[in-house]
């Protein structure tokens, strides 16, 4: 039963107030893209046992989507941040690296 802090309203919301939305930072491929690109965009997931960047919506709160860095093996939450980003903020990445030296990094 997770808790995640919504970066927009600052509420430390519990999971029942949230909606999970899968892997974050997916690049959309539309018409003109290759079969590989499209398959990768829609289906192929990192699904790591470890650090995962993912989407959540504060569904019962402010309604905003946000992103979270979370460990799927321990459920530790490294941080939450705005959905309007193309990749995890540098300071968050540094924080994760400090906590998980073996982490291979984003991407």
């Amino acid at each position: 039963m997770l808790t995640l802090e919504c970066p927009y309203c600052g509420v430390k919301a519990e999971e029942t107030e949230l909606q999970a939305g899968g892997e974050a930072h997916l690049k959309r491929y539309g018409p003109g893209s290759s079969d590989d690109e499209f398959e990768s965009y829609l289906f192929m997931r990192k699904n790591p046992k470890g650090v995962h960047f993912e989407r959540w919506r504060h569904a019962y709160g402010c309604g905003k989507w946000f992103l979270a860095a979370r460990c799927t093996a321990t459920l530790e939450v490294f941080g939450t941040y705005s959905a309007q980003t193309k990749e995890p903020p540098a300071d968050l990445q540094a924080k994760i690296k400090a906590k998980r030296p073996n982490w291979e990094g984003y991407k």
Binding site: M1, L2, T3, L4, E14, Q19, G21, R28, Y29, G30, P31, G32, S33, D35, F38, L42, R55, R57, A59, G63, K64, W65, C71, T74, L75, E76, V77, A83, Q84, K99
Partner: protein, 993 residues
């Protein structure tokens, strides 16, 4: 015999006698009794039968670890099976029954299994009952099922109510013994918000029974003072009768409060499930005494030494007149002292250790009791009750040295910390060789959302067994400042692990040593599992059922692990433990459901006209959380007749449909047109203000996901209608794309579904009816088909859309929801002269099918793309992109072999059964009959007086006139011809008048 002592009993109030029954026999106890203490006080030691062998079972313990004393409690809607007598408070009028026997507790036919015991070793059922093949299901399994299963199944609906409550604390302390109280006080003094819960009705735990001295006071006085001090602090919440049942991720701890189990019928909720979010959890859950494995250790009258002490001290109940004590540690001598203090006989203390010279043994010796060091029990004598014990040398093979008559045996195999909460979320254990126990490994705790430890174990839950250590540990762990509460240091001699008594017991004795008395798992069963290669502790558990009883092995699992390790010649820590899973002890399923039952089981969404529908014969259909009228039944009318009548009413005059549930989403902004062009397959940016357009939405995977009419309200504002089930989903979908992909687009959305009541007024007389209300020009010229206007109709603020899902002249009118009911009433009144009638979803479905309109959820099922439904006309060719477009270019989706929408007409005019498939010749590689199509919608059309259907058929549109075979029930085949799906008013003249 067991009996109530004339004096003492710190928890009972002799001024308040209570009556109860056991198997119909009237018995008496006192307020403060548990069911177990009351039964023992009434000399009822035999309380049930075991699971497998139906052996007689007596009370063993005094708390949550009790494996045997499980009773049926209450009657009717208050009956509950498997109530643990040791943790259930007695109340006046309690009606209890013993379980798992037939015809009676005293004489149980099932006990034949006991005689056959040697043929029924652990896992025997995996090796037999295989022939003949049908026999498992029809012969063996029913017999096994009937003999297993413990309590009776309740039959009545639960009469009680339950609830949840949410709480938040910096520190949650589980357990109200001296460790928990100390930790709570320390944390509270540090300014933390503290929540302290205790599973029983009383604070203090074991210390008050054992007569510990704290800070120079009797423990009881110290406990009372501490509780009082905590009670005065605003930052502390105290809760008795509340068990920490489970710890979940991110500090979510569950508290199971038995609010009214002891006061049934007083109107309070029976249980309350606390869902507490803890900054940190301190488990002060104590320790549980272990049994010893000697032959006959399951005979009623053999009890845990600590439990014997509890019964004497707390409830003034003596389990026996002559109690032999058998132990491997000093603590059990306290039981001897308690019994002696109560004036009872202790014929001997059998101590497995080579010598017993500590202060406690000496004190017992000083009272004239024989202490037999280096000895053990070879076997217990008796059947339904202990009659004596046979004494042997612990280091030997069990030859009897002497026999001692007794009617109770108090055993102690040492103590196991209660590590359940510590472990629930991944906290790990270490093996403490000296104390022969698994204790929490402080280096490997469960971690919280910050990656830091979220649990700390204190006191005996942390492996400290003497009060001085317990208090110091709890104080320190909770961040206590200054001096910890202190107890005199006690010098106890080390315990000696004893896993089998006597050490060299042969197979005959090992077959009589119970590890799990409820499930009948014995030492020999665990050894058998090891011999057969079930080496993992999980294998052994599952093969023998060790620890799978309703007590989950609290008392003796460790003994089993030790025996497994011994059999495999490996150290105990290598064997490890099975996984600790919530709940700590069973919690009511009613409490887990909370308040959600009856009317508030789920939200029911109601339109403003819901109440009208209810009193006018609505036959409801659940649609999402809404209920929509399927049809309106008139007196004496069947569903089918009502539907047909409603259709005729619409086709011939005018009908009303409550369409309020349709989703309505405003999309506004400079980029709204661009956004909608991505969302819909159609071009929405070019829709002129004042007009409506039917639109399709696909998932990014290409499948059709929703449809509806889009209305252009103004230059930068559109109103998107969705299906009833789609409103929230589509709104969320829009926001998802706007927030996460196209966040630089200037678009705002608002879900205004519930702002409006919406009514479809459909039928040739629709215009006439509305014109009676007055206020707007509704002529074809003023508001042409597929356009909308805003105005006032009969005094109602209305947005009127000329759209039709029935194929008739139709207006969909939206008014503010608060005025919806009044508007509906006005329509009914104005329509009276036309014979207006409301119609339901089924009439709507049939009329749209007559028109060949698709329905999301009927023609689509998540695997259908718009092209399958010949909806190419609604897919803009001018757009480079829309959600789902790339997906639809994939090879399988672009294949000409996809099944496509057609109309279907049976040759005999009948109705094709719903869901039927059209077969093709031959079978596929897996031997399945080839198929070439299926029915998606099928109805009897009262308008056309015949069956009509739509379906998806391979190459369907190219095969007009072909006849397909639809095999249906009982080998029958329905033949149907492929036809145009538009059955009624093909040119659309009726809707456009």
């Amino acid at each position: 015999m067991s009996t109530r002592l004339s004096k003492g009993g710190r928890l009972i109030d002799r001024a308040k006698p209570l009556n109860f029954t056991f198997n119909g026999r009237r018995m008496a106890g006192y307020e403060g009794d548990t069911l177990a203490s009351a039964l023992l006080g009434a000399d009822q030691m035999l309380v049930g039968r075991s699971f497998k062998y139906h052996r007689p079972r007596g009370i063993i313990a005094s708390g949550a670890e009790e494996p045997n004393a499980l009773l049926g409690l209450g009657e009717g809607g208050k009956f509950e099976p498997n109530q643990r007598a040791t943790t259930t408070e007695l109340f006046d009028g309690a009606s209890t029954t013993s379980q798992n026997h037939w015809p009676s507790l005293e004489f149980d036919v099932g006990a034949i299994n006991n005689k056959l015991g040697r043929f029924l070793p652990g896992g025997f059922y995996y090796k037999t009952f295989m022939f003949p093949r049908f026999a498992w299901k029809h012969v063996f399994e029913p017999v096994i099922r009937q003999s297993a299963g413990l309590g009776k199944a309740p039959t009545a609906r639960d009469e009680d109510r339950y609830e949840y409550a949410y709480a938040f604390a910096d520190v949650v302390v589980a357990g109200g013994g001296i460790a928990g109280l100390t930790a709570a006080l320390a944390a509270a003094k540090a300014g933390k918000r503290v929540w302290l819960m205790e599973q029983t009705a009383h604070w203090g735990g074991r210390a008050v029974v054992d007569g510990v001295e704290i800070d120079g006071k009797p423990a009881e006085a110290w406990v009372n003072e501490t509780v009082e001090a905590l009670g005065k602090m605003d930052n502390v919440t105290l809760r008795t009768r509340t068990m920490a049942s489970g710890l979940f991720d991110h500090g979510y701890i569950m508290g199971y409060e038995r609010v009214a189990d002891h006061t049934p019928g007083d109107g309070r909720p029976r249980h309350r499930l606390w869902r507490i979010r803890a900054g940190h959890v301190i488990t002060a859950t104590g320790a549980i005494e272990r049994s010893l494995s000697f032959a006959g250790n399951d005979i009623p009258g053999v009890m845990l030494a600590s439990a014997v002490r509890d019964y004497v001290v707390n409830w003034a109940v003596s389990p026996g007149d002559r109690t032999v004590i058998v132990t491997n540690n000093d603590d059990a001598y306290r039981t001897a002292l308690a019994l002696l203090d109560a004036g009872l006989l202790v014929p001997a203390v059998i101590d497995a250790r080579p010598e017993a010279t500590g202060a406690l043994p000496e004190a017992v010796r000083a009272r004239g009791v024989r202490v037999l060091a280096g000895h053990g029990i070879a076997k217990v004598k008796g059947g339904k009750r202990v009659t004596g014990v046979s004494i042997c040398v612990q280091a030997g093979e069990g030859a009897e040295i002497e026999s001692i008559a007794c009617d109770a045996v108090a055993m102690s195999g040492g103590w196991s910390p209660v590590v359940h909460l510590w472990s629930h979320c991944g906290g790990k254990l270490i093996w403490d060789e000296e104390r022969a126990m698994f204790r929490p490994d402080p280096k490997r705790p469960a971690t919280g959302d910050d990656g830091e430890a979220m649990v700390t174990a204190v006191g005996s839950a942390n492996g400290f067994l003497t009060p001085d250590e317990v208090l110091a540990d709890a104080h320190k762990a909770a961040g206590g400042q200054g001096k910890a509460p202190a107890a005199p240091a006690e010098s106890e001699a080390p315990m000696m692990p004893v896993w089998i008594m006597p050490q060299g017991a042969g197979p005959d004795l090992r077959m009589k040593m119970w590890l799990d008395p409820q499930n009948d798992v014995k030492v020999s069963d665990v050894q058998l599992a090891a011999r057969e290669g079930y080496e993992s502790v999980e294998h052994t558990k599952r093969y023998t059922t060790l620890g799978m009883a309703t007590d989950q092995g609290k008392m003796s699992n460790i003994n089993g692990l030790a025996i497994l390790s011994d059999a495999l010649h490996r150290p105990i820590p290598e064997t490890g433990t099975t996984t600790f899973r919530p709940p700590y002890t069973p919690i009511s399923i009613g409490a887990i459901a909370g308040e959600a039952r009856g009317d508030i089981f789920q939200p029911l969404r109601r339109t403003p006209m819901h109440a009208w529908h209810e009193i006018h014969g609505a036959h409801w259909e659940p649609v999402g959380l809404w209920r929509r009228p399927y049809c309106f039944l008139r007196t004496g009318e069947g569903v089918h007749d009502a539907v047909n009548r409603e259709i005729r009413t619409v086709r011939n005059s005018v009908g009303l449909l409550d369409a309020s549930t349709l989703g309505k989403i405003i999309v506004k902004g400079p980029d709204a047109g661009k956004f909608l062009d991505m969302l819909y397959t159609n071009m929405m940016s070019t829709l002129p203000v004042g007009k409506c357009r039917y639109g399709l939405m696909c998932s990014e995977n290409g499948f059709l996901s929703d449809d509806g009419v889009v209305v252009r309200l103004s230059e930068d504002t559109w109103l998107c209608h969705t299906t009833t089930g789609g409103a929230d989903r589509i709104h969320g979908w829009m926001e998802d794309w706007l927030q996460c992909e196209w966040w630089d687009w200037k678009v705002y959305t608002a879900n205004v579904t519930e702002q409006y009541a919406q009514v479809a007024i459909a039928g040739p007389n629709a215009r006439k009816l509305l014109e009676k209300l007055g206020g707007m020009d509704l002529s074809k010229e003023a508001i042409p088909f597929m356009e909308w206007r805003e105005g006032t109709l009969g005094g109602f603020r209305a947005r009127v859309h000329r759209i039709s899902f029935s194929g008739e002249l139709s207006f969909e009118v939206a008014v503010p929801a608060s005025e919806g009911r009044a508007f509906w009433d006005a329509l009914i009144a104005a329509g009276e002269e036309f014979g207006v009638a409301p119609y339901g979803t089924e009439a709507m479905h049939i009329m749209r099918a007559e028109k060949g309109f698709i329905m999301i959820g009927d023609e689509t099922d998540g695997t259908v793309i718009p092209q399958d439904l010949n909806l190419q006309w609604a897919i803009s060719k001018k757009k480079d992109d829309y959600l789902g477009k790339r997906a639809q270019e994939r090879s399988h989706m672009a294949s000409p072999d996809r099944w496509k929408l057609v109309g279907l007409e049976t040759l005999d005019g009948g109705v094709i059964p719903d869901g039927a498939y059209a077969v093709a010749e031959g079978v596929n590689a897996n031997g399945q009959r080839n198929m070439q199509g299926r029915v998606t919608s099928t109805y009897y059309s009262p308008t056309l007086n015949k069956g009509i259907a739509m379906g998806l058929v391979k190459h369907g549109p190219d095969r007009m006139g072909e006849v397909l075979d639809f095999p249906v029930d009982n080998g029958k085949v329905v033949k149907a011809r492929i036809v145009d799906p538009v059955f009624y008013d093909k040119d659309g003249e009726k809707q456009n008048v």
